[in-house]
Structure formats: C-alpha cells, structure tokens
C-alpha cells in the first residue's frame, strides 16, 4: 500500500521563521504535490513536481518554495512564515499515467500555526 508520510502532524512557528515541511513517499511515484486547505476555500495547489529537480507553480505559490532533490522526497519551504500561512498542509503523490493525472495518495497533513 502506498504510504505518504509528512514529517510533522502539528507545528507551531513564529512569524518570520523559515519553515520546512517534509514529505516522503515510498512507491516510486514521479509526481508530488503540495496543497493547503482552509475552511471555506477547499484545497488549493501550491506547487507540484513531475520529476526530480523539477517544479511547477500551482495556484498560490507566493511565499513558498519547494525542493525535490530525490524522487521520494518533496519539501515545502516557507521562507519567512506569516500568520496568513496558518493552515493545514497536505502532500500527495501519484504516478504518471497516459499524460493525465492518476489518483493521488495523500499524507495525513501538517497543521501549521504561525504566531
């Protein structure tokens, strides 16, 4: 069974801190994604990656960056955390499938609070 592991379930950081959210998948998936989820706004795509060292901006990349040095690991970086980045962050992975998106496998999320 596919496992997507997010390093922290809950995280509390201070405004201005640099924050790293880590995600690891164990199924050799090519694709990895970072979403944030907020009440009333649903899931919004921050960044995604189709291959090692490759990244694409999603709908809301401002204030975030990502790193994919190894196929199994996709890191989300908040360069200088702000209170409006308090949210649930969800990582997901999938395999390449005929040019379209195969089902996503999600981690359990990291609930980040920035104070």
């Amino acid at each position: 069974d596919v496992k997507v592991t997010q390093s922290s379930r809950y995280l509390v950081k201070r405004t201005g801190e640099k924050v790293f959210l880590e995600c690891v998948q164990d199924m050799d998936h090519e694709n990895m994604f970072w979403y944030r989820q907020d009440p009333g706004l649903g899931l919004r795509l921050i960044y995604f990656s189709y291959d090692v060292k490759m990244k694409e901006k999603g709908d809301i990349p401002e204030g975030y960056s990502v790193s994919r040095e190894k196929k199994e690991r996709f890191s989300l970086i908040l360069e200088s955390a702000s209170t409006n980045q308090t949210s649930m962050y969800l990582c997901a992975s999938s395999y390449n499938w005929q040019g379209s998106n195969s089902p996503l496998h999600f981690g359990n999320g990291t609930r980040l609070t920035v104070t």
């Binding site: 979403y35 969800l90 996503l104 359990n108």
Partner: protein, 108 residues
C-alpha cells in the same frame, strides 16, 4: 483556476438513505475524480471516471459524468454513519484541482 464546485455544501441524512452530491466544472477534462476526507485527515481516493465514460460503480458508490453539461454526481447508497466525511471532486488539469467539498453527515 479550473476549480470544480460541489453542491450542496452540506448534507445531513439518516442511515440507510441515499446521498447525492454534485460537481460542476468549467473546462474540458481528461478525467474527474472523487475523494473523501475524514475530519482532520488526508484525502482518500474513491473513484475516477474518464471523459469518455458516462457512469461508473464501485461498491455503494455510483458516479455519473455529463461532459456536455460539465457536471458529475456522486451517489452513495444505503448510507452508514461511517460515511460521515467531506467529499471532493477533482478535475484534471496540469495537476488535479479540487473543489471546496460537500460535508456529509449521516446520523443513526
């Protein structure tokens, strides 16, 4: 953004009843997917329907797709308390784009 929109936003039913949720989207798709999210957890994939399919079944789930109307529906038959969750449709673009979800509450 090509975000899908689920309707209704919230639905409350009794155990044993059927639950129907709808999804509308704006652009052409390769496929449409439905996911479930239990409170405070990640999303779990339920079913994928391709653009050339009209209906698909999986256990108590039935999904329909009408590409001419750019809409899909998810039917859960004989609902159980364990079906209480939020349900999301996701449309296939460069990456999956999710709607805001329908919160289903099934009471016994």
């Amino acid at each position: 953004s090509q975000q899908g929109e689920e309707d209704p936003q919230a639905l409350s039913i009794q155990e044993g009843e059927n639950a129907t949720m709808n999804c509308s989207y704006k652009t052409s798709i390769n496929n449409l997917q439905w996911y479930r999210q239990n409170s405070g957890r990640g999303l779990v994939h339920l079913i994928l329907i391709r653009s050339n399919e009209r209906e698909k079944h999986s256990g108590r789930l039935r999904v329909t797709l009408d590409t001419s109307k750019k809409s899909s529906s998810l039917l859960i038959t004989a609902s159980r308390a364990a079906d209480t969750a939020s349900y999301f449709c996701a449309t296939d673009a460069a990456a999956l784009i999710f709607g805001k979800g329908t919160t289903l509450s099934v009471s016994s």
